[in-house]
């Protein structure tokens, strides 16, 4: 029986900017089951990273709630907050900027252990060695500094750091986009193995749809701060409903010349509009090939069209 580990209800995160309000995350609701991988995809600036960070409470929410194991994350204080910080960890995008160049790898990995006073002395050293081993690095590397490592190895260090305090939930924000393809595959396989071994739940944020399809059980598509479609990963790719999802999938070239020669593309006109003071109505209206007059006035709500297939579009009512 699946059990909900994370529930996001009408979450909003606005940033005040000089010429208005930037609605980075606007009224997003979703739930994630224990042990699954939820993939979040979208183009740059769609708010997927902000959503991940607001869920982790790296940003405070403007409105709405994030329930982790039934507790409202944004109202936690003192010991409960510290406990929450242990249970949810993050792996960052840029393996070059997210490791402190002045700390040894051992100290980077053990920082969480030190903060939460889990181990010290020999025990701490053993735990660091064990973690390095888990992510496929030799334990002697604990005394080295980040600049001595390649991008793929650094990302492994970032993963070891996230695992150090035995979290239940990991937010992985574009964890492989800075890596070469052959190395991407190594890190993705590591993510999958760790999930199996430790029963982890992932929120996997990426702009690479093929990657998300491969790793995620369920998938959400974001556009300009709003969730457009949520479905099982396989279902979303087989039968995309939202016009934006259709266009997004169609834009990705398939590494197969035969397929490419035959394929007809839906090419979207124009760019993603600015999220500052967005107009009322559907966010995708200006670029949508199937836009109707209603779309300009009312923003569609995310509704279930089929079992476990949600879409926010006036075409489906």
């Amino acid at each position: 029986m699946s059990e909900t580990i994370l529930e996001v209800n009408n979450l909003k995160k606005y940033f005040g900017v000089t010429n208005g309000v930037l609605k980075a995350v606007d009224n997003v609701s979703l739930s994630i089951q224990r042990g699954e991988t939820f993939g979040l995809v979208g183009e740059s600036g769609c708010g997927k990273s902000t959503l991940g960070r607001t869920i982790m409470r790296l940003y405070s929410a403007t409105d709405g709630e994030v329930l982790f194991n039934g507790e409202n994350v944004h109202q936690l204080k003192g010991g409960r907050l510290k406990q929450f910080n242990r249970e949810m960890q993050m792996v960052f995008q840029d393996p070059y900027a997210s490791l402190n160049p002045r700390m040894t790898v051992g100290d980077i990995i053990a920082e969480g252990i030190d903060i939460h006073r889990l181990y010290s002395g020999v025990k701490r050293r053993e735990r660091v060695a064990e973690l390095l081993h888990t992510v496929g690095l030799p334990e002697e590397h604990a005394s080295r500094f980040p600049h001595e490592f390649s991008g793929g190895q650094r990302q492994r260090i970032g993963i070891a750091r996230a695992l150090a305090i035995k979290p239940q939930f990991i937010v992985a924000d574009e964890p492989v986009s800075a890596l070469d393809v052959s190395v991407q595959a190594q890190v993705i396989n590591l993510f999958k193995r760790l999930q199996k071994e430790n029963g982890l739940t992932y929120l996997f944020i990426s702009h690479d749809l093929a990657m998300v399809k491969h790793i995620a059980d369920r998938c959400g598509v974001m556009y300009l701060g709003a969730l457009m479609e949520v479905a099982k990963a396989s279902e979303l790719y087989r039968k995309p409903l939202h016009p934006y999802t259709v266009a997004l999938l169609s834009a990705i070239p398939i590494p197969d010349p035969e397929v490419e020669r035959k394929r007809e593309r839906v090419i979207l006109e124009g760019d993603v509009p600015s999220p500052i003071n967005p107009p009322p109505g559907c966010r995708f209206f200006a670029r949508c090939p199937k836009a109707m007059p209603e779309c300009q006035v009312n923003a569609p709500r995310l509704i279930a069209v089929e079992t476990e297939h949600y879409v926010a579009c006036h075409l489906y009512k």
């Binding site: 393809v181 396989n189 399809k213 398939i254 590494p255 397929v259 490419e260 760019d271």
Partner: protein, 331 residues
């Protein structure tokens, strides 16, 4: 078919404090008129150094062209040209599109000025005439309201629009050869699709010969006619797109094709990564550079570098598995 570009045994090194980095170690390829050639490979394989050497954009020192020739348009050896002579070719005969549209435009100049710069310098047009051409170029690359847009600065354009401006600049003097170094890597997929479409369209309309450098095999399948796969400063396999995608022969090409994900895969197959890392080009290995990561490596691979051999027509590769004396066939 005439060759617009012939690169023969090109070797480029960099002198650093740590020693000599052999970034390009003997690269040979040709580009025919009107053809799109893709150079693929992972970071550090020398694909950008190769393209920048064709443009003679890498300052010397620290770089030196150690050997080889780059014959452009059948007569001119770009390696032998002085920097002054190169200036008359760069931008007028050969155009270049860079990876990062955010940093490759000058933020203090209007985009009109940046497009007309080459026209005034190379073709001696008056500012007025150049301006008119700039407007036509912007229309060609799909920018609406070009009359107002040419007076604007780069920060007023989005990433995809800036890349269109870059393409307009590189096309301004109708170059015979266009080099695009990762032209879509910094862009979102929907914008990438627009730019690739634009490049294909331009190739049809103007018949430009294009070298596209990329690590995205999807883009390669979409746009290229021929492909060169680079690894550790060498071309390990070369052929038509069909040769490379359907009958690849080099273990590194196999590895690349297996480690990418396809959106149209029905089931979730296990990803097969290439284990290990590329060699350090400060001290390249004696034998084949891929031998240390190659699941099919033989003893000879560690000792001697394989020669490039022709497999069929345009399909060639450098691997000991091709040698007649190798009995085992892996495919």
């Amino acid at each position: 078919m005439k060759n617009i570009l012939e690169v023969k045994d090109l070797k480029v090194s960099f002198h650093t404090y740590a020693g000599e980095v052999q970034a390009v170690r003997g690269v040979s390829f040709e580009l025919r008129k009107g053809e799109v050639l893709a150079i693929v490979g992972e970071s550090g394989c020398g694909k950008s150094v190769t393209s920048q050497t064709i443009m003679r954009l890498i300052p010397s020192p620290p770089s030196i062209i150690k050997a080889g020739s780059i014959i452009f348009d059948e007569t001119i050896d770009l390696v032998q040209l002085s920097l002054k002579e190169m200036e008359s070719i760069r931008g007028s005969e050969i155009g270049m599109i860079f990876q990062d549209p955010m940093t490759s435009l000058n933020p203090t100049m209007t985009i009109g000025k940046q497009i007309t710069e080459g026209l005034v310098k190379h073709q001696g047009l008056t500012q007025e005439k150049a301006q008119k051409q700039a407007i036509e170029l912007l229309l060609l690359v799909g920018i609406s309201r070009p009359e107002t847009r040419i007076k604007q600065y780069p920060h007023e354009f989005s990433g995809g629009m800036r890349q269109r401006v870059m393409i307009a600049i590189s096309l301004a003097c109708r170059p015979k050869l266009l080099i695009a170094d990762e032209p879509t890597t910094a862009l979102d997929v929907t914008i990438q699709a627009q730019i690739i479409d634009l490049l294909k369209d331009l190739q049809d309309k103007i018949g430009s010969s294009i070298i596209i450098i990329t690590h995205n095999l999807g883009v390669v399948a979409d746009i290229a006619q021929r492909v060169a796969v680079m690894y550790a400063g060498k071309i390990v396999e070369q052929g038509t797109v069909d040769d490379i995608f359907y009958s690849a022969q080099h273990p590194y090409t196999w590895g690349l094709l297996h480690s990418i994900l396809r959106l149209d895969d029905e089931e979730k197959s296990e990803l097969v990564p290439i284990e290990g890392m590329p060699p350090d080009l400060l001290d390249p290995p004696l034998g084949c550079a891929f031998a240390a990561r190659c699941p099919h490596a033989l003893n000879i691979c560690l000792k001697e570098d394989p020669q490039t051999q022709i497999i069929q027509d345009e399909h060639s590769m450098a691997c000991w598995l091709m040698d007649k004396r190798v009995k085992v066939k892996i495919c």
